[in-house]
Amino acid sequence: MDTDLNSQDRKDLDKFIKFFALKTVQVIVQARLGEKICTRSSSSPTGSDWFNLAIKDIPEVTHEAKKALAGQLPAVGRSMCVEISLKTSEGDSMELEIWCLEMNEKCDKEIKVSYTVYNRLSLLLKSLLAITRVTPAYRLSRKQGHEYVILYRIYFGEVQLSGLGEGFQTVRVGTVGTPLGTITLSCAYRINLAFISTRQFERTPPIMGIIIDHFVDRPYPSSSPMHPCNYRTSGEENGAAYPSVEDSQEVCTTSFSTSPPSQLIVPGKEGGVPPVPSQPAHGTQADHERMVMCTPLDGALYSAATPSSSEDTETVSNSSEGKSGSPHNLLETIFVRKVGAFVNKPINQVTMASLDIPFAMFAPKNVELEDNDPMVNPPDSPDVESPLQGSLHSEGSSGSSTGNTHDDFVMVDFKPAFSKDDILPMDLGTFYREFQNPPQLSSLSIDIGAQSMAEDLDSLPEKLAVHEKNVKEFDAFVETLQ
């Protein structure tokens, strides 16, 4: 097979396939960032725009892709796969799509590598740009944020489709024949997403106890860590340009020939691997602030938390396991104190005198330390819910936030709305159950209705006579309305 391809063509083809794979990953991950992508056209060619398309390179994504490829190229039986999955704030995850770049044995010996293959790969990337906006996961990724985030994982080898559930669909993005085989790009995606997209991910567990059977444990441990699909570097809020690619990529072929012989290929130099930025750990609001503070020390920092609102929802922990960053870990231990929701003042200004905790009036007066206040420093148990929530779920509970009898934990005697503790000392749950089925209105009950009907009919002539007397008043009234 190689004898038909001269060494220059072989080298070119390998280079094209390698950079095609890297650009494919960039397009897919960028399409799942949750925001609109915009790149500029340029009439003057630059050396770094592979396939004549302006596709930015997120260094971390390139690094992950190169790591997965490990110097190999997609070949028969060795596919490059990008897995896109969704992870909720409760920690459940679900695979949404698998994008596969495969190579099969069907060769096209006649095709010109430097020209036709290159242009067709460019066309295939354009198709990928179009198709990534069209699969169901796109709309989900645009809405990611508090309730869930989109993660990606790159792996090389055999395609694993079992995580997509039953009845997944496949869309073929396109194929390009080369002298070494046919490159195929396709996407297998989960289709039963309609339930997910219309259902608002509520922070409270569903009251009716709906079992969500989509969120299953992964059948096999991931061979590579998942990464979040939303990247923010400091000072990049407006989506400014990513770091330039010159230092990390070879210069691509930019000249073509209208006649076969002459070709100008600038030999490129491959720059070093870009430094691996550390991954953040948790995403509560305080942590987000903390990460912003850490940025100057840490260099390029990729935050996984989207700017959260002031509510104390738990956002997802998106870190890849123990990446670089022992300096980052050190910084984490320094700022360990979490700031609770609704606290407007900086940490060091909150004193006992200015009790700014919510529901302070309900808190017993023996709360001395802020650390003990459950509103500021909630316990770590996963059962933390609002007091309102707790009483909805438990039978005859006393309205405390949890059943936790930890010593430092103060029982807050929560008084729900509508409850009058002088007449009817009851909790919200009891109140709700009691007033859920109010008695029938007496005027609507049938026996009385039948009687009153007969009475009404009898009294009708009298009423009519009275109304006829007052006709003039009625007319005057009607005129005022007009």
Binding site: S42, K126, I131, T258
Partner: protein
């Protein structure tokens, strides 16, 4: 050489016509545009870079990627705007079609004008529906979004068949194959025309009028 013809059909609400047409036309032109050619000596040329940008539709649950070229976007919006107005004011029952034709110019000797030979024609048939209430409109937003997803997949499938494309031209021939008038990108030569089917079933063709005008203009 036979001209490749592809037909797409879609039913939309009146206010969705513009966005649906733009989504389809932009997707086709994304595949049929290259960067600007810069010819050098010895018969070589280099190609500029095509940028892309995402466009969210206001009346359809849909986002599409288009070429980053304001000139191209303006040209398409103008054509689609005319089509939309024609649909609305023609008094028809809301059926029309818009065609995007890619062609090559073949120079003819004087006194004949250049021939335009189409090599690919995309026809989008539109059926405008009227909806009674907001709930139906909301459902329509989603349904049309899904339909457009299918159309994009169809377009991509055709594009990747790698069927006939005009040969890359020499510098002297480039204007016969590409539209070199735009400053940032270079689509293949194309023209857009539309037809509205009025309620009597006969078609009022604007292309005919244009063809006659062009021939007389010489």
């Amino acid at each position: 050489m036979n001209c490749r013809a592809e037909v797409l059909e879609i039913s939309v609400e009146g206010r969705q016509v513009e966005e649906a047409m733009l989504a389809v036309l932009h997707t086709i032109l994304l595949h049929r545009s290259t960067g600007k050619f810069h010819y050098k000596k010895e018969g070589t040329y280099s190609i500029g870079t095509v940028g892309t940008q995402d466009v969210d539709c206001d009346f359809i649950d849909f986002t599409y990627a288009r070429v980053s070229s304001e000139e191209l976007d303006r040209a398409l919006r103008k054509a689609v705007g005319e089509f939309k107005d024609a649909l609305r004011y023609s008094g028809s029952d809301g059926i029309g079609q818009i065609s995007l034709e890619f062609y090559q110019k073949k120079k003819s000797r004087w006194p004949f004008s250049d021939e335009c030979i189409p090599w690919e024609v995309w026809t989008i048939k539109v059926n405008v529906v009227n909806l009674a209430n907001e709930q139906e409109r909301q459902i329509c937003r989603e349904k049309v979004g899904e339909k457009l997803c299918e159309k994009i997949i169809n377009i991509v499938e055709v594009m990747n068949r790698h069927e006939y494309l005009p040969k890359m031209p020499t510098q002297s021939e480039v204007d016969n194959v590409f539209d070199t008038g735009l400053k940032d990108v270079q689509p293949y030569l194309y023209k857009i025309s539309y037809q509205i089917t009025d309620s009597l079933g006969s078609s009022v063709t604007t292309t005919m009028r244009r063809l006659i005008k062009d021939t007389l203009a010489l």
